[in-house]
C-alpha cells in the first residue's frame, strides 16, 4: 500500500501519540488536529491535500466530533472517517453511521485492528478518488 496521509483529530495528546505509535509501522503520514475547528482549518489548507482517512474523536472542545464529522462529510465526502471514541454508545454510533462514516471504533483498539481499518478506509478513499 502506498504511503497515505492520515488526519487524526483528538484533543488528547496521549490518544494522538498512541495512534501515531500504532500506525508508525504503516509508514503513513500522520497530521494532527486538537479539535474539530483545527481539523476543518487544516483540510482547507494546501498541505492537507491528499488526506486519505480521517480518524476523529467524539468529545472535543470547540467543535465536537458530531459537528466535525458533519462538516467532513459535507465538504470532503470522499474522505472516509473513522470515529475513534471512548464512548461505547450504540445510539451515538448509529448517529455517526447516518452521517456516513466509514467505521465506529471504540477505544482501546489493538494496533492490528486499527491498521486494518485504516488500510480498508484508505482503499475506499483511493477508489472514491478514482471515481471522482
Amino acid at each position: 500500500m502506498m504511503k497515505q496521509k492520515i488526519l487524526v483529530v483528538d484533543d488528547e495528546e496521549s490518544v494522538r501519540e498512541t495512534i501515531r505509535l500504532q500506525l508508525k509501522s504503516t509508514g503513513h503520514e500522520i497530521i494532527e488536529a486538537e479539535d474539530g475547528k483545527q481539523a476543518i482549518l487544516l483540510l482547507g489548507q494546501s498541505n492537507s491535500h491528499g488526506v486519505s482517512v480521517i480518524i476523529c474523536d467524539v468529545r472535543m472542545p470547540n467543535i465536537n466530533g458530531i459537528e466535525a464529522v458533519s462538516f467532513f462529510r459535507r465538504d470532503h465526502p470522499s474522505i472516509p472517517v473513522i470515529v475513534l471514541t471512548g464512548y461505547p454508545d450504540i445510539k451515538l454510533a448509529a448517529e455517526f453511521v447516518e452521517k456516513g462514516i466509514f467505521d465506529y471504533v471504540v477505544k482501546p483498539v489493538e494496533k492490528e485492528r486499527l491498521i486494518a481499518k485504516v488500510e480498508k478506509a484508505a482503499i475506499q478513499s483511493a477508489v472514491m478518488n478514482i471515481v471522482d
Binding site: E12, V15, Q22, G65, Y87, K91, P108, K111
Partner: protein, 630 residues
C-alpha cells in the same frame, strides 16, 4: 341536620328537667296552698262557730232580759196591789184605782196586750187593754169569768210566788187567730192577802213581738239563719215567716221534721254546736222563767228554777254556705297563687335551663377530656406508626437515592468510558510499542507513561466506586461543600462530549457542614447535570456559594431553556421528567429534595422559559458546627 338533632336534644333535655323541677315546685305550691287553705278554713270555721254561738247567746240574753223585765213587772204589780183591798166585793174604788194604775203602766211599758186581775173564782175584776197605745180599762159589766181558761187554772195551780208562763202562741180573739198575728205569752202569778191566803191571780198578756224583735235584733249578724223554737221544735221566729207558728195552724212544720238528727242533738243538750251533713247547728236553751227568777233579788227568797219551760235559740248554716269558702278562698288568693304559679314556672324553666347547660357543660368537659385522652392515645399510636413509617420511608428514600445514583452512573457511563478508555487506549498503544520495538530506552519511556495512565484510571475508578458505594452508617463528618461542588462539576463535565458549556464558579468561604459527602455530592451532581441538560446549544452554568452566618447558600444558575410555570410545582415529584427517556427516570430532583430535607435544608427554583433557571439550595448550620472554614 346535626343542628336540628342538637336542637331536639336540647329541647327534650330542658323540657324533661323543667317538668321534673316544676312538678316538685308545683307540689310544694299545692302543699303550701293547702296548708294556707287549711289555716284560713280553720280560722274561718272557728270564727264562724264562735260567731254563731255568740250571736245565739246574744239572742238568748235578749230574750231572758225581756223575760226578766216582764216577771219583774208582774211581781211588782202583784206584790204592790195584792193587799190593797181589791178583792173586797164592795171596794170598787180600789179596783178603779188599780185600773188607773194599770192603764198608766200599760201605756208606759207598751208591751202588754192586757193587764188583768182575776179573783179566786176566775172572774176578771180589773182589766186594761193596751188598745194600740191608748189603754182603756174595761168597764165592770164587760168583765168576764175566765175560770175555765188554762192560764187561770195553771196559775192558780202554782205554788207560792212562782210565775206561770204560758206557751208562746198567737192571740185568739173570739175563737179565731187575731189577724195580723199577735204573738202572745201570758204570765201569771198568785196574789195573796195579809194572811197569806190565795185571793186571786195577776195576768200579763205579753206582746211576744217585742221579745221576737229583741231576739232578732240581738242576732242581727246571723239574721238570715237564726231562729227561735219552742220545746216542740216549732218555729217562733224564722227568716221564713211561713214556717212560724206551725202548731197554731195545724202544720207539722218543725225542725225535728226537717232535721230529726239535729233536733235530737239540740234537744238533748243545753248549749252546743255541731256539724253534720245538714250543716252547722249552734244552739242554746232559753229559760224565760228560771233566768228571771234567779235575778229577782227582791228579798222574797230564791225560787226554784223551772227548766221544764224553755225555748231553743238556734242558728243553722247549711253546708253550702261554708263549703263555698273554698271557692271564696280561691277567688281571694287567685292573684297570689297565679303569680306564684307563673313565678315557679319561670323559675323552674330558668333552673332547668341552667341545669341543662351546666350538665351539658360538664358533659362537654367530660367529652372533651375523653376526646382529648382518645386523641392523645391516637397521637401516641400515630407517632409510633409515624416513627415506624419514617424509618420505613427513610429506608425507601435511601434506596431511591441509591437507585437514582446508579441510574446517573448509567447515564454517564459513556462519559466515564471515554474518561477511562482514553488512558486505557494509550496504555494499550504503549504496550504494543514496547512489544514491537527493541529499543530498551524507548520501552522504559513507554512504561513510565503506562504507569502514569494506569494511575489516572485508578483515580477515576476510585472516584466512581466511591460515589456508587451505598452510604453506610449514620455518622456525619464535616465536609467542605465547595470541594463537593468541584467534584460534581468535574463529573458532569466528563459526561459531556464537548465543552460547549462554560462552567463558572464563585465559591465563598464556607464553614464545615456535617453530612455524608456522597449525599451532598449527589445533590450537586444532579442539579448541575440538570442545568447542563437544559442547555440545548452553547451556554454557561454559574455556581456560587456563600455563608450568611446562619446557613450555606448555593446558587446554580444556568441559561438553559427554563422550566414552564405549570411544571414548577412538579419538578420535585418522583418520576417527573421533561427529558428524553434515555436521559433519566425523573427521580433526580426528587432524590435531591429528599436529601436536602434530611439535612433540614431547602431548595427553590426560579425559572424563566427561554432564559434559564436558578436553583437556590440552603443548608442551615447548627450552632455546634459553626467552626469556621475547614
Amino acid at each position: 341536620m346535626n343542628d336540628k338533632v342538637a336542637q331536639t336534644v336540647k329541647t327534650k333535655g330542658i323540657t324533661r328537667r323543667f317538668l321534673i323541677i316544676f312538678s316538685v315546685a308545683f307540689c310544694l305550691l299545692l302543699a303550701s296552698a293547702s296548708t294556707h287553705y287549711f289555716i284560713v278554713e280553720r280560722s274561718e270555721r272557728i270564727e264562724r262557730e264562735t260567731r254563731e254561738l255568740l250571736n245565739i247567746r246574744l239572742g238568748k240574753a235578749a230574750i231572758e232580759r225581756d223575760m226578766q223585765d216582764v216577771i219583774s213587772d208582774l211581781t211588782f204589780l202583784a206584790r204592790h196591789n195584792e193587799t190593797s183591798g181589791i178583792f173586797l166585793p164592795d171596794n170598787l174604788d180600789a179596783r178603779q184605782a188599780l185600773a188607773q194604775q194599770f192603764r198608766v203602766f200599760s201605756e208606759q211599758k207598751g208591751r202588754y196586750h192586757q193587764i188583768r186581775v182575776l179573783d179566786e173564782t176566775g172572774q176578771e175584776i180589773v182589766r186594761v187593754n193596751y188598745n194600740n197605745g191608748e189603754p182603756i180599762a174595761t168597764s165592770e159589766t164587760l168583765l168576764q169569768n175566765k175560770s175555765d181558761r188554762y192560764y187561770f187554772t195553771e196559775t192558780w195551780a202554782t205554788e207560792g210566788r212562782n210565775t206561770y208562763i204560758s206557751p208562746f202562741d198567737l192571740n185568739i180573739e173570739h175563737g179565731e187567730i187575731e189577724i195580723p198575728e199577735v204573738p202572745m205569752v201570758r204570765f201569771g202569778t198568785l196574789m195573796f192577802d195579809e194572811n197569806g191566803n190565795k185571793r186571786g191571780v195577776l195576768l200579763l198578756n205579753y206582746l211576744g213581738s217585742t221579745v221576737i224583735e229583741d231576739f232578732r235584733e240581738a242576732t242581727a249578724n246571723i239574721a238570715d239563719h237564726a231562729m227561735l223554737l219552742n220545746s216542740d221544735g216549732y218555729w217562733l221566729s224564722n227568716v221564713e215567716k211561713d214556717r212560724e207558728w206551725g202548731f197554731m195552724f195545724g202544720r207539722n212544720d218543725t225542725l225535728a221534721e226537717h232535721f230529726p238528727d239535729a233536733w235530737q242533738r239540740i234537744n238533748a243538750r243545753d248549749t252546743g254546736q255541731f256539724s253534720n251533713r245538714d250543716g252547722l247547728f249552734s244552739f242554746t236553751t232559753v229559760y224565760p222563767i228560771s233566768s228571771s227568777q234567779g235575778n229577782l233579788g227582791d228579798g222574797l227568797g230564791s225560787l226554784p228554777a223551772d227548766t221544764s219551760y224553755y225555748w231553743k235559740a238556734v242558728s243553722h248554716l247549711p253546708p253550702q254556705s261554708f263549703s263555698a269558702s273554698l271557692g271564696e278562698f280561691l277567688r281571694r288568693n287567685m292573684p297570689l297563687y297565679s303569680t306564684m304559679f307563673i313565678f315557679l314556672a319561670a323559675s323552674s324553666f330558668i333552673v332547668a335551663l341552667t341545669r341543662f347547660h351546666h350538665r351539658q357543660a360538664v358533659s362537654e368537659v367530660e367529652t372533651e377530656r375523653s376526646f382529648r385522652e382518645l386523641l392523645e392515645r391516637r397521637v401516641d399510636e400515630r407517632t409510633d406508626e409515624l416513627k415506624t413509617a419514617q424509618v420505613e420511608k427513610d429506608l425507601v428514600v435511601q434506596h431511591l437515592i441509591q437507585a437514582e445514583k446508579m441510574t446517573a452512573i448509567g447515564t454517564m457511563a459513556s462519559g466515564i468510558g471515554h474518561e477511562i478508555n482514553n488512558p486505557l487506549y494509550a496504555i494499550l498503544g504503549l504496550a504494543e510499542a514496547i512489544r514491537d520495538d527493541d529499543s530498551r530506552e524507548q520501552a522504559r519511556g513507554h512504561a513510565g507513561k503506562i504507569l502514569s495512565y494506569t494511575k489516572d484510571i485508578a483515580a477515576i475508578v476510585r472516584n466512581l466506586t466511591g460515589y456508587a458505594r451505598p452510604f453506610s452508617g449514620t455518622e456525619h463528618k464535616p465536609i467542605d461543600i465547595n470541594e463537593v461542588i468541584h467534584k460534581a462539576v468535574s463529573m458532569v463535565k466528563r459526561s459531556l462530549y464537548d465543552d460547549r458549556i462554560e462552567f463558572r464558579t464563585d465559591l465563598g468561604g464556607l464553614p464545615g457542614f456535617s453530612a455524608h459527602s456522597e449525599e451532598i455530592h449527589q445533590v450537586f451532581f444532579n442539579i448541575i447535570r440538570n442545568g447542563v441538560q437544559s442547555i440545548e446549544d452553547d451556554g454557561s452554568l454559574m455556581i456560587t456559594s456563600r455563608y450568611d452566618g446562619e446557613k450555606i447558600v448555593i446558587n446554580v444558575k444556568d441559561d438553559g431553556k427554563g422550566i414552564a410555570p405549570e411544571d414548577h410545582s412538579k419538578v420535585f415529584d418522583p418520576f417527573f421528567t421533561t427529558k428524553d427517556p434515555d436521559q433519566g427516570e425523573g427521580m433526580g430532583l426528587y432524590v435531591v429534595h429528599q436529601i436536602i430535607q434530611k439535612y433540614k435544608g431547602s431548595i427553590s427554583l426560579e425559572s424563566v422559559v427561554g432564559k434559564g433557571t436558578t436553583c437556590v439550595i440552603e443548608f442551615p448550620i447548627l450552632p455546634s458546627v459553626k467552626k469556621g472554614n475547614p
